[in-house]
Symmetry: C2
Subunit: 386 residues, 2 copies
């Protein structure tokens, strides 16, 4: 009897301890299975090995993921308002919380202690303690949808109010999370925003104004309007078919590369004058335009229209398209592995993930996955705004 108890307790201990996985968390690729409420976890440092899947994450249409500082936990916010904390070592959900009716984005504070969620409905920002996984603060946003939520240096959060044409700055280092600054009349209907990786410039995309609003967080007294180039004269009459995702906007060298609303290319905007220097013609309106970590290539995808199956590669030096790939139907997202030697591509239409060498453009690996969309690498954990 004694022996049996010993054996049982050992089995129990063993079962628990063996759950601790045998891999690092610095280069994991987390891929959203859009219709499955699940994610797949792949280790880009172990020949792109599939480590497993985690389901039960809610409605993952337009899902967003941020990571704990150590890359161990993925915070997943679902469209139906659930925040899940997923342990990427044990491959299971360790906490789950309803944070709204319709959530759109999230950010982990610089100190790693809180997760902030931006909600469309009710229009607010919700702050969750990582330790207790309870809501510690709800900040109502003048009945507006909130968008473009990012963490910024000084333990700040920056967020925009879609229906109130404002940007707010929240101090997440103070216990009551005060809104310390409100920028009003920044432009009509902000729909998304990004923070440059140095945590300095917050760029806001606007639905109904022909500019991007830029806030320099080091010069908090005002903001700059960067005129958005429109290559075709009547393009302002075209409806915005799909929102260009601002996370994909790029500062490479002296230029900002911005997808044009109503256009089908990429505008090269000079950072000194904020004027468009050139247009790079593309096969469609890019949904994402992402720079390889060495800033020598920009990769784009389209989703809608005839070129939903295409990925184009722009050489930054020559500002020309140097490669067009046809990886599969409905390319929803693209994401570089650390140091950019490889890129992951989600083919939603063909239910597969494709991994390419970015130098040779060779297909390295193809992984079957149910309707994949967003791709997020754990090395985002140490970059502001991601």
């Amino acid at each position: 009897m004694k022996y049996i108890i010993s054996i049982l307790s050992l089995i129990f201990l063993l079962a628990n301890s063996s759950l601790a996985a045998d891999y690092g968390t610095g280069a994991l690729m987390v891929v959203v299975e859009r219709e499955n409420g699940a994610i797949m976890v792949i280790d880009s440092a172990q020949d792109h090995k599939v480590l497993g899947e985690v389901s039960g994450l809610g409605v993952l249409h337009h899902a967003s993921i941020s990571f704990s500082r150590d890359g161990r936990y993925a915070y997943v916010v679902s469209r139906d308002g659930f925040l899940s904390k997923v342990d990427l070592l044990k491959l299971k959900i360790v906490s789950k919380l309803k944070v709204g009716e319709s959530a759109i984005g999230l950010a982990v504070t610089q100190d790693g202690k809180h997760i902030a969620i931006s909600n469309y409905k009710p229009g607010n920002i919700v702050i969750v303690s990582d330790k207790t996984f309870k809501i510690v603060k709800t900040i109502p946003a003048d009945k507006s949808k909130t968008v473009g939520l990012v963490d910024a240096p000084g333990n700040l959060l920056v967020v925009s109010l879609m229906d109130a044409d404002q940007t707010w700055v929240i101090d997440a280092g103070k216990p009551d999370f005060p809104v310390i600054r409100k920028y009003k009349n920044i432009g009509e209907k902000p729909y998304d925003a990004l923070l440059t990786p140095d945590g300095r410039y917050y760029l806001v995309g606007l639905f109904h104004s022909p500019w991007i609003t830029m806030i320099d967080l080091l010069k908090p007294e005002g903001f700059t309007k960067i005129p958005l180039p429109r290559p075709e004269k009547d393009s302002h009459k075209k409806p915005v078919l799909k929102i260009p995702h601002l996370e994909g906007w790029i500062m490479a060298g002296d230029y900002l590369y911005a997808p044009m609303v109503g256009g089908s290319g990429l505008a090269v905007i000079d950072k000194k004058t904020w004027k468009a220097k050139k247009f790079i013609e593309l096969k469609g309106h890019p949904i994402f335009a992402m720079a390889r970590p060495d800033m020598r290539q920009i990769w784009t995808n389209y989703v809608l229209g005839d070129n939903h199956d295409k990925v184009e590669v722009i050489d930054v030096q020559s500002q020309k398209v140097i490669k067009t790939l046809t990886p599969g139907n409905k390319i929803f997202h693209i994401g570089f592995a650390p140091k950019g030697g490889t890129i992951y591509i989600s083919s939603y239409g063909d239910s597969k993930l494709l991994i390419y060498d970015t130098s040779t453009f060779e297909l390295i690996k193809e992984i079957p996955i149910k309707k994949p969309s967003g791709i997020f690498c754990t090395n985002r954990s140490s970059i502001f705004g991601l």
Copy 2:
């Protein structure tokens, strides 16, 4: 008997599996114990908890550390020529290899498949396969000491030859690791180098020439000489007491911040003209000058002279010293945790590690550690040149 065997085998399994640690590897701080041949591993994401120590690493005077892509393994090169692969999850050495008589630096290739070591003696570059942990190639360097070895985009390695006044570029993507480019007469006695984080500019420090040599890896046909400012007229007569570590040179905004040879401050060099715009007077000749990840502060330390116990903080916007700390005797190194909310400081003289909040300058934690020197964070694994 059967039971006992079962129990023993379970204990065995348990002992093995429990070695797999229960933490992520994205924000580990690895600190060299200079006189101990050891490292201490601290998790900056778990309230700076000490995870353990690993010893048996050889002579760690001027030790250098790089990481595997996933942050799981630390590659440590010792002055007496041993390369050790340390598993940061199991906290033990998994492989060890003699790679030279006197080694000085190392780099992990972009694809993560090889570790390159630069040797003073014999003057060469040695390439080790991560998989087999055997030397796969030795590249003799014209009998010169090799310095400033970095990995670069395109799976390249860049290294300088101290006694031959050259910089070489090696293609680590080809099976025979050919030297594909040789820059000759770059200046007298290169002693160290750095690569900018975008992997584009390789900057070489020179012992006997009053300039820095800059190679633009995208324009391989030549190089630029950046004149080194010398504020005092007779400073060229002063001996170089201590080599300024080039890893600490900083590009922040439009300026390069460079420690002056023979001077006691930091030169602010305009990147457009490569001319010194200003000198920031400091308490000594900085051994390291490191930018906080948000580029808003530069932290310096001195080691030699009266101010061996000081750390100064420069505000990048105003280009002024805003804080002087006295953390302990003989400050050997400083290193930011991811996102820069905290900084680790090694007091070699007092055998302690100090962790400060970089906003409030408050001391957060003090960790006893035997004669600490270099501090390396695992998030370096996804940055070129580190």
